[in-house]
């Protein structure tokens, strides 16, 4: 079997539709007599609901219905816990999940109170003003420390406190490590990750067909299968009565895999109740509070080192802002906890976190999913230690890297897939060396920087390392079928939001079946076509679905060869499959097309041998024993204006190891995009909540997404240590670009402004010119 496509920068099958404006996105779904919904959202963060009067709204012409929690009856229930807590000894975990419409209490500004259904979105929004809401405002809970120390109101009254979870994981003996250390450094860090803010917001169209007793739902979800299963259950339908279609989605990044959002649960109910199709498109103002965030943590961390910079142990105690509800369990803080270990040998580790309920929007994973926070802490601790010990920051990292012969490396700490975090494979030093060479580290530090500094220019360099757990289970599946026209169909449950699945998956099939990649039709995200699988998240699509696709393709290939062998009355070993044909090796004139084989495999008449499966089709599943581990190094050169503190990125390098690569062009695009979001997170995007839990910058004019002028050209490099955990050796790369950027910015700016000499430390993200000014002026500079 030749690999013509696997590993090649094949151009994307899905481009034409997207480039010509023909791709179906959620708001393009138009159904006859479709109604439109608008949600009335709380404008206070914390309140008891005394009364909601919808009578005036019902009188407005064009309004068909108005519902509050009471109208939902028995349908009203809190959503399921999506991710149970990992089996960690001593864990404290209180689950409180979101509800379809607030009842009794409102817990964040933006929480839905009522839903209006009208002939148009315009009229529905008019009617929002008609609803009279009587709320008894309660104190907002915004400050994490006050929230957990009992100095704030209680978000969930029955809990008696705002403690959502308390988790401690430890290995080795940190106390002994600290006692034996030559240096113990302790600092407080604040890391805030912002919001995903895809250019397309969320949306749902629900269509109940009463005659056929079928519910069809279009949904901008990264997990159509689980949405189907869950909605079927609460709607009292069988799974086969519900079809969820994830159309083209304009960016996911994580918050679109949060499921059973209030709107997702309410729209189908409305459709059944009114026996009409109904659409809800989240507008940008709503998106700022209605779609989940990732937000922030406060870490009190310490590191114990030997005099030569070797890490003896790390201890960390952190608070995690959970938001008002925690349907996603502990994924984000567990990722922070685990990813802090990085690519380093850390013999003793003692990490404790408290996840805190606040009266703010829900927190669930967003590209990086808590890894940014952990990476920031360890990378900053190493930078500070390097300065204290007089060691070059790159050198201190090098001395602590896990050596290449130590894999699989067991970190012993339990990860988001409920198993101890084992790094399956890796070779970290070459990645570091490649990054250093690409950024010209030695030359910069020894020649260019001193020269530019002498000219009064503030230029700085930074290098940051990280490890990223990817490719987690449980499993994905794929069905591959050669159709009677010779085109190959691939259907899988895993959705797509721009990662090129229509192409990368097709590449795998194309190589196995000897067809052109353009002859593979990929269907994803339609539960009528495939209804098994968990969804697109945690950089797992290529790994898990990719392997399932490979397995299914191989089975179909075998079937084709077997059938051809019967036709030609020869051994399968004498056959070759290429260009859509199976032929006898060496006799290209003796061939049979795949299309013909497919037809032969599905006879209209006659008898078949027992045990025969019709057609050239196979469905296979793949579930990795545990997640894989990708890793990378980012390096950056910046210039900071010493007066205004405006920043320009002069050079940006990423060297990345994600094992075997299906499509290097798509991989590069993923890294570019991740870095761009990382840059936004580090220096531009900041959610400005006031102490009343109001988001002050709920607009793209004030929540600053980086533009083409803020994102530099990036230089990418790769190494590959294939994963031993799956046949294709793939690791996963979707989040890599976003993870170490905060740490990189802090290091680079400190270096550019020579802050170490001034004893000023950057221990927070995001930064900004104004923030730098404030931090520097505190010291009277």
């Amino acid at each position: 079997m030749t690999t013509r496509f696997f590993g090649a920068p094949v151009k994307r099958n899905e481009d034409r539709k997207l480039l010509t404006g023909q791709a179906l996105f959620i708001d393009d779904v138009e159904l006859p007599n479709m109604l439109h919904a608008a949600f009335l959202r709380s404008n206070v963060a914390h309140a008891r609901i005394r009364h909601i009067d919808v009578s005036a709204a019902l009188k407005r012409p064009g309004v068909v219905a108005v519902y509050t929690a009471g109208d939902l009856g028995a349908y009203w229930q809190p959503g399921p816990l999506l991710v149970p807590p990992p089996p960690i000894p001593g864990i404290v975990f209180h689950v409180r999940t979101q509800v379809p419409l607030a009842r009794d209490k409102v817990r964040y500004a933006g929480e839905p109170l009522a839903v209006i259904v009208a002939e148009s979105r315009y009229i529905a929004e008019d009617a929002l003003d008609d609803i009279v809401v009587d709320l008894e405002t309660l104190p907002a809970v915004v400050d994490l420390e006050a929230a957990v120390a009992g100095r704030a109101a209680i978000v969930h009254d029955d809990l008696g406190s705002n403690l959502a979870s308390h988790v401690r994981q430890a290995k080795g003996d940190y106390r002994r490590a600290a006692a034996n250390a030559d240096l113990v450094l302790k600092r407080r860090f604040r890391y805030e990750h912002g919001i995903s803010s895809p250019i397309e917001t969320r949306g749902i169209v629900a269509q109940w067909n009463a005659r056929g007793q079928q519910m069809t739902i279009w949904d901008t979800t990264q997990a159509p299968v689980f949405v189907r299963n869950g909605l079927a259950a609460i709607l009292g339908l069988s799974e086969r009565q519900v079809r969820v279609i994830a159309p083209f989605i304009g960016g996911g990044f994580g918050p679109k895999i949060m499921i059973f959002y209030p709107e997702e649960v309410t729209l189908p109910w409305i459709s059944m109740r009114l026996n009409r199709s109904v659409k809800w498109i989240e507008d940008r103002l709503e998106h700022f509070v209605a779609t989940t965030h990732e937000r922030g943590q406060i870490h009190d961390a310490e590191i114990a080192l030997a005099g030569d910079g070797r890490i003896l142990g790390v201890k960390d105690v952190f608070l995690h802002d959970n938001g008002a509800y925690n349907p996603y369990g502990l994924t984000v803080p567990i990722n922070s906890q685990c990813t802090m270990l990085g690519p380093y040998v850390i013999p003793a580790y003692d990490s404790t976190f408290t996840s805190v309920f606040t009266t703010l929007p829900i927190v669930t994973p967003y590209r990086g999913a808590g890894r940014q926070h952990g990476v920031f802490v360890i990378e900053r601790l190493l930078d500070l230690a390097a300065h204290e010990l007089g060691i070059d920051p790159v050198e201190i990292r090098r001395r602590n890297l896990i050596p290449p012969d130590a894999f699989p490396f067991d970190n012993e700490i339990i990860y988001q897939d409920f198993a101890p975090l084992k790094y399956d494979s890796g070779n970290y030093e070459p990645v570091l060396d490649k990054a250093l060479a690409a950024v010209g580290y030695e030359k910069f530090v020894n020649e260019e920087q001193p020269k530019l500094r002498a000219e009064g220019r503030c230029v700085g360099i930074a290098v940051a390392c990280y490890v990223e757990g990817t490719g987690v289970g449980p499993y994905e599946g794929a069905k591959v079928q050669v159709q009677s026209n010779g085109r190959v169909s691939l259907v899988t449950g895993i959705g797509t939001q721009g990662q090129g699945h229509f192409t990368s998956f097709a590449q795998i099939v194309a190589d196995q079946l000897g067809v052109d990649v353009t002859e593979v039709d990929v269907v994803t995200g339609d539960t009528d076509q495939f209804y098994w699988g968990a969804g697109t998240f945690a950089s797992r699509g290529a790994v898990v679905a990719g392997n399932a696709i490979s397995e299914a393709s191989q089975v179909v290939r075998k079937k084709a060869l077997k059938l051809a062998g019967e036709v030609f009355e020869c051994s399968e070993d004498d056959l070759v499959i290429a260009d859509g044909k199976v032929s006898i090796t060496g006799i290209p004139g003796k061939f049979i097309r795949l299309s013909e084989l497919a037809q032969r495999a599905n006879p209209m008449r006659g008898a078949v041998r027992p045990g025969t499966e019709p057609g050239l089709e196979s469905t296979q599943y793949f579930g990795p024993p545990s997640g894989t581990t990708a890793n990378g190094v980012h390096a950056m050169v910046v210039e900071v204006d010493p007066e205004t503190f405006e920043l320009q990125i002069l050079k940006y390098v990423v060297v990345h190891d994600c094992g075997t690569v299906i499509n290097p062009m798509i991989l590069a695009g993923q890294i570019h995009g991740g870095v761009a979001q990382g840059i936004g997170n580090a220096f531009y995007e900041k959610l400005a909540f006031d102490d009343q839990g109001q988001l002050l910058n709920a607009s793209l004019a004030d929540y600053l997404l980086p533009t083409a002028l803020e994102i530099p050209r990036m230089e990418l490099g790769h190494t590959a240590t294939p994963s031993p955990l799956n046949p294709l050796g793939i690791k996963g790369a979707g989040e890599a670009g976003a993870i170490p950027v905060g740490a990189l910015f802090a290091q680079a700016i400190e270096n550019a402004l020579d802050l170490a000499r001034k004893r000023i430390e950057l221990l927070e993200i995001p930064l900004s010119p104004s923030r730098l000014y404030e931090l520097l002026s505190k010291d009277g500079t």
Partner: protein
Amino acid sequence: MQPDRHDIELSVNGLQYRRTVEARMLLSDFLRHELMLAGTHVGCEHGVCGACTILLDGAPVRSCLMFAVQANGHELSTVEGLTGASDELNPLQQAMHEHHGLQCGYCTPGILMTMTAFLKENPDPSELELREALSGNLCRCTGYQNIVDAMLKAAEMMRAPAP
């Protein structure tokens, strides 16, 4: 208040349309839901993201910051008009395809319209000039690098003398 409705006549991608619209209907909604030209996308409805960019008499504008009534008597161009009668991808579209200048594709139509107008007036832009022209269109997927490469290549292709 009874909806205030107006008759309008306009041309979109060379075709004439006559419709009656409510005064407050945004041009973006009119194109998408009245004319069924859903290629123009809506990202923010406050003029920042650029996803809704179309050409009004050849100049790029935010269709979310105009009412349909204001388009009366004007010539509009949207992404659907780029391929022309041949249905072949035009040089900008082809370049985006070859350089992987799109991932989810949601911001892409707005970028194509912005760049169509920009490259027409600036056939030989520097990378910085191109990034400045692109800075009014937000993309969350690509990090812009491949879009810049695609547009520079498209400009180069369009400058080359016809064979």
